[in-house]
Amino acid sequence: MFVGFLYELRRRKVPVGAQEAVALARALEAGLHDSSLDGFYEVARALLVHNEAHLDAFDQAFLAHFKGVQDQGDALLEELLDWLEEAEAKDVGERSPEEEAALLALGPEALRELFTARMQQQERRRQQQDNGTGEEAQEGPGRGTRPEGAERADGGRRGAMKTADARLYRGYRDDRVLDTRSLAVALRKLRAFQREGAFDELDLEGTIDATARNAGELEVILRPPRKPSTRVLLLMDVGGSMTPHAHLVNRLFSAARKATHFRELRTHYFHNCVYGRVYRTEGFGEPVTVQELLADCGPHWKLVLVGDALMAPYELMLRSGAHGRYTPDGVEGIVWMMQLAQHFERSAWLNPEPPASWWSPTIRTLRSVFPMFPLTVEGLGEAVGHLTRGGVRKGKGPTVSR
């Protein structure tokens, strides 16, 4: 039964449940898999996997679970042939009832033919599989001249084991670091709408209501259209330990810039920690003080910080004044950060460092101020989910498993 396989899939985080199991059972009952392992692979994949991100895990699980099944099948065939030979060699009286029955039902020749035909079939299938992967690289123009039928028979079909082993879908896993498009997809969830502006959309309900009140005399009611209402403030850590991540952060930045569903997007830069002010340009030009920033951006703005939060611990404790210069009676860096966290209703920190390294003291400290998420497709999705959730929650974000 395939139930063991389902648990193998679950172990690899492919979400399958009773619904999938029942669907697969029905498909097998209907004979959709043609009683072959290849057929089972295709059918199971269509029914158990719902997202291309899970295709790779499915292939791996399939390999792990069904490796050896094919060899077992061959061994079984071998045994059958031996058995047939032995049965034939025996005299009539010595044969067991089953042997006698088998020989009588089909005749020894027919039986042998059946077996060998099956054998060859299997062998042919194996060869096709080998061709399927081996020839791709060195195909010459000659192949095109083959007759249509032959082409079909040896092309197209790859053995299930071969396909699974090739792991063609590795690129679609979603725990990989992200590209611009998947980032944009993740960011899209941040959108929200509000009605405002000119009254130029027909309010159907309102019109009906007003017309009815007007004793059937038509009265048209208009309302303002829906417009995006999300405002995002993006603060990015640049330079120093962030340099290796520059590529990744740039992609996030371009995805955010391209997103058309934000009412407003402001981007500012800082280095390691915010000291009284942030900068409009990557080269730390055009400073904006935190006070100005907070005055401009209301609490309903979504604050997104991007940084590795790695620095010398003292840097969190450096005191600075409102203009970013060191003063002994200034405010510590971490306090500036806390001011930001307190001002905004929703904030999230995206960290390009893998969560396994989040034990470092400065990361731990900043995690207690901002909910922190890894800068991957998954992490960004979680962060966006956190940013859009209703109600106000501060402090530590959802814990990330190490």
């Binding site: 669907a23 498909a27 269509a46 719902h50 001249t145 082409e151 997809v185």
Partner: protein, 280 residues
Amino acid sequence: MTDRFRRFTGTDRYLTSPALQAAVNCALALERPLLVKGEPGTGKTLLAEAIAGALGTKLLTWNVKSTTRAQDGLYVYDTVQRLYDSRFGDGDVRDIRRYIRFGPLGEAFRSPERVVLLIDEVDKADLEFPNDLLHELDRMRFRILETDEEVQAQARPVVVVTSNNEKELPDAFLRRCVFHFIDFPDRELMQRIVRVHHPKLDEALAQQALDVFYQLRDMTRLRKRPSTSELVDWLAVLKSAGVQDLKLDETLPFVGALLKREQDLLVFHESLAAGRRPRA
């Protein structure tokens, strides 16, 4: 339980892989929607046409847009028309049924024989859109609130849903679908596809075009890699322009048919001008 339905094996204009056939047949046998994903231009939409062709049924298409609501697919109660008629018009405004306009899903349910319903680019709509369709696709029935009538599918339509992955689809929706991810065709399948679309194309030119095409696809810096439909279009252009000989260099004819983005064209010229071979 044996074959109660005709198996789908593709058509002479639409070639399929065993995996795709298995997925389509699962959807047919289990009467579940088939969700098709894949790179743009790999024939997701054409699949529905092919299924309709193979089954010999009508195809209804529901093109989803960003403003589409689930209700639009079922029916729309044309209140404005009714209001208008009540004031200025003629005819009987008491009969609400005259003002119910059925959407593609409603039409598919009402059709006396089985149809193929294509819900194209479901990801264009709002995030909640697929969830709003769950019940209707499951039970294949819905109620018209205005007239309190129930529309029930007389023959369960074959539903094909395509997605370009712009939005994640909700889990509850995914669970009800048979899923297939259309791979980018390998060279052999591509050759057959090309032959189906351009049967009279010179074999040598086709080979050269495929060479160039796969080399282009392997250029890692491209933002939008050319896909099947672009290749087929490009070959059509080459054929009508009478091009005889092709190789990947800066003078590649009609490269605009393959690369649609300005940046990609820049990348293309840059990497070839520098004398570097594209990364294989």
